[in-house]
């Protein structure tokens, strides 16, 4: 049985295969072509933490391929959590459907779910741990928008300490020999053990020093609750805000990505520039998840 738990379970070939498959589904994702390859299949969405776009994106991907979806929302999950173990919930729900998508606040929950499931499990985020489908759609975006994955220079900016998106992504970037710059306040720097694990070419930098060199600027949210006081948050978050002005020295083809939702780290003035790709990136989640769903269920 195939599960998708961590990006580290995949090698370059696996990733390239999924991205290629996603490309074949892109017109289906846009509604330009009808496909019913998952007709009769049911996907169980188990969201123990609130999520709108990831859950919707999976739901759309499943429905565009002719399949059906059952949902357990965070609110329902909290009542389940009072009386039932995750192991039991998974054993029960895997009897109802052909694959499970899980988001859970505890790290490793998806791997544990897979061990208790009779159907494939896809990790849609486990605490500060992994979020492999986000990583795959990020890679797909880079490949589509920059034309390649190998040899890209990318800057990761914002909360690099707690962001599971970043932790997942950086491991995959290293597989494609990308040059990586880390731009963050010291308090939110990427943990040293992750830097050691990833290896490759990783450097801390300031955005103004590398803006003209990079192919991709990947921005993440700096969360208020990570700071002891609001004053400190304001000071830090202000210096990590992208505006159209910030991007003036960027290369023509440089793209700005963001896992969304954004708060104020990317000013709306950026939306109209040739660099903005975050909404496109969000759309790419659909064909990528179609590729993953068809891969685990067929």
């Amino acid at each position: 049985m195939k599960h998708l738990i961590s990006i580290t379970d995949l090698d370059r070939e696996d990733i390239s295969y999924i991205l290629k498959k996603a490309e074949e589904f892109e017109d289906v994702a846009m509604g330009k072509r009808k496909l019913r390859i998952l007709e009769g299949k049911i996907l169980g969405n188990l969201f123990f933490e609130p999520s709108t776009r990831t859950r919707m994106s999976f739901e759309v991907a499943m429905k565009r391929l002719g399949g059906d979806v059952i949902n357990m929302t965070a609110q329902e999950a909290s009542s389940v959590a009072k009386g039932e173990t995750l192991a039991d919930t998974i054993r029960v729900v895997s009897g109802y459907c052909d694959a499970i998508v899980i988001r859970h606040p505890l790290e490793g929950a998806a791997r544990f779910a897979a061990e208790n499931s009779s159907v494939p499990v896809i990790n849609a985020g486990d605490g500060a741990g992994q979020h492999p489908t986000q990583t795959l759609l990020d890679l797909y975006t880079i490949k589509k928008e920059c034309g390649r994955l190998d040899g890209i220079t990318i800057a990761l900016m914002g909360d690099l300490k707690y962001s599971r998106t970043i932790h997942s992504l950086i491991k995959a970037l290293a597989l494609f020999e990308m040059k990586i710059y880390l731009i963050s306040p010291e308090a939110l720097a990427l943990p040293e053990d992750i830097i050691e694990d990833v290896g490759g070419e990783i450097k801390k930098a300031r955005l103004e020093d590398v803006i003209s060199e990079i192919d991709v600027l990947y921005v993440t949210r700096i969360q208020k609750e990570r700071f002891p006081d609001e004053e400190e948050y304001r000071k830090v978050s202000g210096s990590y805000r992208i505006t159209a002005e910030t991007l003036k020295k960027a290369k023509d083809g440089m793209i700005v990505m963001h896992p969304l939702p954004r708060v104020d780290e990317i000013h709306p003035s950026v939306d109209a520039t040739k660099h903005a790709r975050y909404f496109q990136q969000s759309f790419y989640g659909v064909p990528v998840r179609m590729a993953i769903l068809s891969e685990v269920m067929l």
Partner: protein, 153 residues
């Protein structure tokens, strides 16, 4: 005159060359707990030519499985095992760190599913040894442990 710190055993398992001060952790790894019926003797900080100081644990009347004994390598990679029969050493070997351990270590990450109460889950770790330094990585959350002594369950 030489003084015998811990008497010889007739039959059983002797764990020698344990890093000084770690004998109690060895008992914990072997799940030898208060209330055990086994005859267990222990010596701590015994002078040793090779190690300066060492600990020794002797478990009378029981041949502990190699698989269990090898877990001692997590905290004391130089430990040696002597299996004794009729006061003679029947077999001697140095502990080898296992590749995977279950229910020996607990994950330091409070947000790891392996620490969730009531879940039927066995904490599992992948063990790596580099230049006598033993580290462990959680199967569930991926957290790396450098100082294994602190996380023996």
């Amino acid at each position: 005159m030489k003084e015998l710190v811990v008497s010889k055993i007739r039959e059983g398992t002797v764990i020698d060359h344990i890093n000084a001060g770690k004998a109690l952790l060895v008992l914990r790894i072997l799940k030898i707990q208060p209330g055990t019926d086994l005859t267990v003797s222990m010596a701590m900080n015994v002078p040793s030519k090779k190690m300066g100081k060492k600990d020794i644990v002797k478990v009378e009347g029981m041949f502990i499985q190699d698989e269990e004994l090898n877990k001692i390598a997590l905290i004391s990679p130089n430990a040696t095992i002597n299996l004794i029969r009729d006061y003679e050493i029947e077999r001697k070997f140095k502990v080898q760190p296992p590749e995977v351990v279950e229910e020996v270590l607990k994950c330091p990450n409070h947000a790891c599913i392996s620490n969730a109460e009531r879940e039927p889950i066995k904490p599992r770790f992948y063990i790596k040894t580099e230049e006598m330094k033993v580290t462990a990585r959680c199967h569930y959350c991926g957290r790396k442990i450098e100082n294994l002594d602190d996380y023996i369950s």
